[in-house]
């Protein structure tokens, strides 16, 4: 908090020095310029007539979506089962693949900090950067549409999530407990089994259930790119402009997500 002497001899107090004030203004100006520039580039091809029309379009859409065509629900039970399976089996596979990656990535457990650790970190960042929908897009191209592509997409995205949170937990373990196990003459594998595993178990269970919850949410839309589940039906109804059916699917998705969130919250509360 700088003070500043005026010629009259009074001391003036300002929150910031004049330099800092100037710098802040310049930063704000640059920020605003950036946003305006982005806006212009982004909207270079925008057809504004459509945009002015948007409220009317929205109202029209809502009107067509109501009332929901509940009869379509009969066709949704099987896709919902597929959705649940994609999320659950995908999470299981993600856990199986993500746990070893985490052990390779953690400074405390990695067998080689020079080779294994960077590779594990690269796997984690690649898996995390790419949305499960993109993984699904890729896998559907490679192995054809279906639930299997969805399971693998969910698993590939989960590796990074589980790997990252678990390796951070592994690096935060209490070193004294590990030291005590080492001092008994335990082997490397035994040190992990007795020193690390009990310490990270609650975190691990919490992460897995949390990821399952996210995966339920994500697997509801994987069908949009052909990977099975309720998203497949949604895609079909949207392309046929069958909006009353779409409403029912939205409600089904919302209920599934709400139930999975409730289950995940209950299980996590029980673990802790």
């Amino acid at each position: 908090m700088p003070t500043h002497s005026l010629p009259s001899g009074q001391v003036e107090w300002r929150r910031r020095t004049p330099r800092a004030v100037l710098l802040r203004w310049v930063c704000w100006l640059l920020g605003v310029l950036l946003v305006v520039q982005c806006w212009q580039i982004m909207n270079a091809d925008t057809i504004w007539e459509f945009v002015y029309d948007a409220p009317a379009q929205g109202a029209d859409l809502l009107g067509r979506m109501w009332p929901p065509r509940w009869s379509v629900m009969d066709k949704l039970w099987w896709p919902l089962w597929d959705t649940l399976n994609m999320a659950t089996l995908g999470t299981a596979l993600g856990v199986v693949l993500g746990v070893p990656v985490a052990f390779l990535a953690a400074r405390t457990t990695t067998p080689s900090a020079a080779i294994a650790r960077p590779i594990a970190l690269l796997i984690i960042v690649s898996s995390r950067s790419i949305n499960s929908l993109i993984w699904a897009l890729l896998l559907v191209t490679v192995m054809g549409p279906g639930v299997l592509a969805g399971i693998l997409a969910i698993a590939l995205r989960s590796i990074g999530f589980i790997g990252k949170l678990l390796y951070e937990a592994l690096e935060e373990t209490d070193p004294k407990q590990i030291e005590a196990i080492t001092a008994t003459g335990a082997s490397g594998a035994q040190r992990i089994a007795y020193g690390f595993v009990p310490q990270i178990m609650p975190t691990f269970a919490g992460i897995s259930v949390y990821r399952w919850d996210i995966n339920i949410r994500e697997s509801t839309v994987l069908g949009l790119v052909g990977a099975g589940g309720i998203g497949l039906q949604l895609n079909a109804s949207v392309s046929r402009l069958a909006w009353p059916e779409v409403t029912v699917m939205f409600i089904a998705i919302l209920c599934t997500v709400a139930v999975s969130e409730w289950v995940s919250a209950r299980v996590r509360a029980a673990i802790i």
Binding site: C38, W39, M42, N43, D45, V125, I134, M143, L148, I253
Partner: protein, 269 residues
Amino acid sequence: MSATTTTTGRRWRPPPFIANPWLRLALYGGVALYLALALGTLQVNWGRVAEGLVRGWAFIAAFGSPDFTSRWPEIYEGMVESLTMTVVSTVLGVALSLPVGLGAARNLAPMPVYLVCRAIIATSRSFPEIIVAILFVKMFGFGPLAGMVTLAFATIGFMAKLLAEDLEDIDEAQVEAIRAAGASWPQLMVYAVQPQVLPRFIGLSVYRLDINFRESAVIGIVGAGGIGATLNTSFDRYEFGTSAAILILIIGIVMAAEYASGIIRKRLQ
């Protein structure tokens, strides 16, 4: 060994994870039954999968020689769209999340405002971005504007919820002190509330910028602009070299953004 009673032959098993044997049995049985049903009803066209292995290998090989050049104009345009969408939607979403977050804090807002703001947050958070994008594309037409609105809408829910939680956790003593000095409501916000929540709010905004970029790569699939459309096309045409190039760019930008946001968040603390 002196002064010890004989305990030879006493058996010991570790205590089971779930104490009630019936519950344990039911749980294991349930898991086994579910796995059997789930794997049993899994419909997989193994012939198609086997066929795909070759293509999968071609794709992995493409990462060794990504093709940036042959589709560069499309990649460039898609990336610029994604980045501009990200910036505009984050700024807009964060700006709009301020009033919504204030309104959703139980300790600061009157009941009717609280309910309305919580409803906005719940709506924004319930639907996956891609579904919201479908609706906005119908409303605004194809292009990045629809994508930007989608991401801004998702940002509002995300930021407002976390802001409201932070506001509900603020230190009441500081608010009391400023109120005791005779401050008005806006003064109270600026002097007592803002300093307590601002650093974390800025950190979360940077984090959201990161998320919005990743999401911007996805919503192009349904026509909401951005790199997703280019990526989708490259997959459809089996141009794996181009796909690999785009994925590498996405991973690179996300890594750079994470690195930068890490530095920014460290500075703030």
